[in-house]
């Protein structure tokens, strides 16, 4: 789960990593007040989970209360790559001398954490990796060893930092690693790590991504994210044990298993349709889950047809059938439902569903073709 810059910076502060003075604002008025508290220029930064905010116009300088208000008003409500800006971070501007990149990330292939650094900061690291790979240093951290000075040294040397800046940067890197471990992060990133003209080392930006699986022991971070998460249908679904991701198509999918869900979407596309969502109702489906899944589809105005694809194993097809019967009897489902049930208790399931208006298909391909056909009409 991603944290906003202002949230990540609040954690940085707690761990002693210097960040610019600043506060988050939900309104232009509040942004102006915060700006008024600083002398000199302020930076107003859109708080949305997209890369390249600056280029997209989500980061602006302003001076004085009036200009800050005007600028904040322009950014708030802005659409950045499909996301609406609801919050801005207002920070005292800093005098940048040099910019670096540092992060701790997970290397899936190596099964290790990695300290990534670059002397080219303030720009997209994937771009840097393509254009100036020699500027990037990677130190892999064996899980049985933890961070050592020799992991950090190559960066300090390449950056050519002076003695005091070296000590400050080392402290920041060690604390960043501590955050990485203690918050169960998949990624903690400072880009850019700034050396100011008065030789201070400051985290000018902050990015954090926390392992979903660790949320049970990251209650403080979860509390930070809760309000925003609870507005998202993906998160609501997760709370009920379902995995849901909204897409742009019109064929709603209800499937058991993540791989089968993806494959179902793929086949819809293969036969000329567009999936409206990814939806995995999980292993042990009870009728309530099936009903909730149907409600999710109904809340998406684009959906024109539903495709049930259930491979019974641990999930019993008759359980799913009962959920389906209860859903269509209680909810007024406004679109046709194509059903494919195979495996454990599929005969019983078909018995239960007999007489309903559901459209049965024997195979995934058959079901996908039927659903695509129904939408095309």
């Amino acid at each position: 789960m991603k944290l906003h810059e202002y949230q990540a910076k609040s954690i940085f502060r707690k761990y002693g990593i210097p960040v610019p003075d600043g506060e988050v604002a939900l309104t232009a008025e509040r942004a102006a007040e915060i700006a008024a508290g600083f002398t000199g220029k302020v930076v107003i930064k859109a708080q949305v989970h997209v890369g390249g905010r600056g280029k997209a116009g989500g980061v602006k300088l302003a001076e004085g209360k009036a200009e800050a208000e005007k600028t904040a008003a322009a950014i708030l409500g802005m659409d950045l790559k499909g996301l609406t800006v609801e919050k801005v971070l207002v920070e005292k501007a800093i005098d940048i001398d040099k910019e670096y990149y540092i992060s701790f990330a997970m290397d899936r292939a190596k099964h290790m954490a990695v300290f990534i650094s670059s002397v080219m900061g303030g720009v997209d690291i994937e771009e840097v990796a393509k254009k100036s790979p020699e500027s990037i240093n990677k130190s892999y951290i064996d899980p049985f060893m933890d961070l050592k000075d020799f992991h950090i040294r190559p960066f300090l040397k390449q950056a050519g930092l002076e003695k005091e800046a070296c000590a400050d940067a080392t402290k920041i890197i060690r604390n960043l690693y501590k955050i990485f471990l203690e918050t169960d992060a998949n990624l903690v990133e400072i880009n850019p790590l700034v050396i100011t003209k008065d030789k201070k080392v400051i985290a000018a930006d902050a990015k954090m991504d926390i392992d979903d699986n660790a949320m049970y022991r990251q209650q403080e971070i979860y509390a930070m994210l809760k309000e925003e998460l609870e507005k998202q249908p993906e998160h609501q679904a997760k709370q009920k044990g379902l995995s849901y991701i909204k897409m742009e198509g019109n064929i709603g999918c209800i499937v058991n298993g993540a791989g089968l869900s993806m494959a179902t979407m793929d086949i819809i596309k293969l036969y000329g349709g567009e999936p409206a969502n990814f939806l995995d109702i999980g292993g042990s489906s009870n009728p309530e889950k099936v009903k909730y899944a149907m409600q999710l589809l109904m809340s998406d105005k684009n959906v024109k047809v539903a495709l049930f694809n259930i491979f019974g194993g641990i999930t019993r097809c008759d359980d799913v059938a009962r959920g389906l019967i209860s859903a269509i009897s209680e909810l007024k489902v406004p679109f046709p439902i194509v059903v494919r049930l195979t495996g454990t208790n599929s005969v019983e399931a078909k018995e239960i569903l007999k007489g309903s208006e559901l459209i049965f298909e024997e195979t995934m391909i058959g079901a996908a073709k039927k659903a695509v056909g129904l939408v095309a009409r």
Binding site: A109, A113, P143, N213, A214, S243, L260, D266, G313, T342
Partner: protein, 293 residues
């Protein structure tokens, strides 16, 4: 033959008194798997489906000579259960548990490797060598004893593939679900290496999905294999930056896409089916050609 498990495999179920542990212990036993013990701290001396329950792994292994453990312990306690299994002397650990934090997995992975213990998962359905042994949660009846090794990152999608294979009369030597997490104990290459060596296995079906680069790495290995491999990759329509159910099924930036994986496989000479059903068709063709040639 088969890989990793067979008639001689002796299994301990960790978390046998929990709902899932108990249910699947029974199912495995019914299939003929030698489930010799269960472990739940504090429940030592009890019985579950006539299987003796012990307080700890060391004790259970000592009493039964088990060589394999399957873990159904909730994520909060799962890491400790794995460490306990690791120190008990078993050679194979199957972690069914979903939801283990990645930072825990880094340490677990390093620990088990340092002791040369093979593990499968986490967040996996386990494995089955049809007609011999099942150490997992898949329903047994869709399987048919035969010569195709199946290795997959997902559960029900594999059932779909196997179901179609069995309907077409194509049996399986061993089916392994390696799990959908970013860090797993047994990779595609690990499974392929074992299948390549197994005399009973004549071909392999590899079912991949978006996220990571395990399929790309596997493609390089397949190019060196003697046995034919066919594949299916799920997630061609998955959007970037979203976890598709599995913690590991995510396109990060431009890496981990289905296109890249299919391209890598095609480059290695591997035919990739467009649908799960397609796997059975490709296999039928390969096996006919193989028999003819």
């Amino acid at each position: 033959m088969s890989i990793l498990i067979d008639e001689s495999t002796k299994v301990i179920v960790q978390g046998i008194t929990g709902r899932d542990g108990s249910f699947h212990a029974k199912k495995m036993l019914e299939y003929g798997t030698k489930v010799v013990a269960g472990v739940t701290p504090g429940k030592g001396g009890h019985k579950e489906h006539d299987i003796p329950v012990y307080d700890g792994m060391a004790e259970a292994v000592k009493a039964t000579g088990a060589n394999t453990s399957i873990i159904f312990v909730p994520p909060v306690f799962a890491a400790d259960a794995v460490y306990e299994a690791a120190d008990s002397g078993v050679a194979l650990i199957i972690i069914v548990t979903e939801g283990l934090p990645v930072h825990d997995m880094l340490k677990i992975d390093r620990y088990l490797r340092s002791k040369n213990i093979r593990y499968i998962g986490p967040n996996c359905p386990g494995l089955i060598s049809p007609g011999k042994s099942k150490v997992g949660i898949m329903s047994a009846d869709i399987h048919l004893k035969g010569g195709v090794g199946v290795v997959s990152r997902s559960g029900t999608l594999t059932y779909e593939v196997v179901y179609n294979m069995t309907k077409a009369g194509i049996g399986q030597s061993t089916c392994i679900g390696i799990g959908g997490d970013p860090i797993v104990g047994t990779s595609f290459i690990d499974a392929l290496t074992l299948f390549e060596k197994d005399p009973e296995t004549t071909a392999v079906a590899m079912i991949g999905e978006i996220g990571g680069s395990d399929e790309e790495e596997a493609a390089k290995f397949i190019a060196t294999m003697k046995k034919p491999v066919v594949s299916f990759i799920a997630g061609r329509t998955a959007p970037p930056g979203k976890r598709m159910g599995h913690a590991g099924a995510i396109i990060s930036g431009t890496s981990g896409t289905a296109e890249a994986k299919i391209r890598a496989l095609n480059d290695a000479g591997v035919e990739v089916a467009n649908t799960p059903q397609g796997i059975a068709e490709l296999l039928a063709h390969k096996l006919t050609v193989g028999a003819a040639g």
